[in-house]
Symmetry: C2
Subunit: 118 residues, 2 copies
């Protein structure tokens, strides 16, 4: 995966991070790197109709989404609904690493695709 | 600043974060919120020719950049140059909160505008 390797070089050689073993989710290869208590995920499409392939076709390479870890995902989704934020996932689903995740619609959050996880 | 207040509501009401007092840098109002050992910065332009105003004119609201804290900024910039990454700031300058910062060119990092700080 030449694009993924090229992107990875910056995080490894400049920031000195150690990549975790690659994973597959939502039709994309994912390499994650821990940075403090945060995690950087580099994604490359494995299937032409995957969400990441469509994002790249439409926008070119860039930042796809930001994910925040919350203590209780169901309660956070309830808070989104109560405040009128539009959700992509009304109920949590399983993402990379078996985590429970849900996406908030970018229309709700200043054009930023936000993922919530637990 | 109605746009900033609207964006802030999500971070305050859904994620439960506490905003820090507003700052001004590069012609933008900045409200930051601590999240674990990371920090989220919400920016709104104060001047029509500021970098943030030009970003919004060109792209609309969204994620502007990602910042990584490194232990030695000069050494990180040397590593960038050694690996052939194009820099926006060849030498560190002073950013919000008086921190030493430098931006890496998005052409170097898969379309992502990256800031490095110490």
């Amino acid at each position: 995966m030449p694009d993924l390797d090229a992107a990875l070089a910056f995080y490894r050689d400049v920031l000195g991070l150690t990549p975790h073993p690659p994973e597959v989710a939502d039709g994309a290869a994912i390499v994650s790197l821990s940075f403090g208590d945060s995690e950087v995920e580099l994604l490359a499409p494995l299937e032409p109709e995957s969400p990441i392939a469509r994002f790249l076709d439409r926008r070119g390479p860039g930042i796809h989404h930001i994910c925040y870890r919350v203590s209780n995902l169901d309660r956070a989704l309830d808070a989104c609904r109560a405040a009128g934020y539009r959700l992509i996932d009304e109920t949590p689903r399983t993402g990379a690493g078996g985590r429970r995740i849900a996406f908030v619609h970018p229309k709700a959050t200043a054009g930023i695709l936000l993922e919530l996880t637990e």
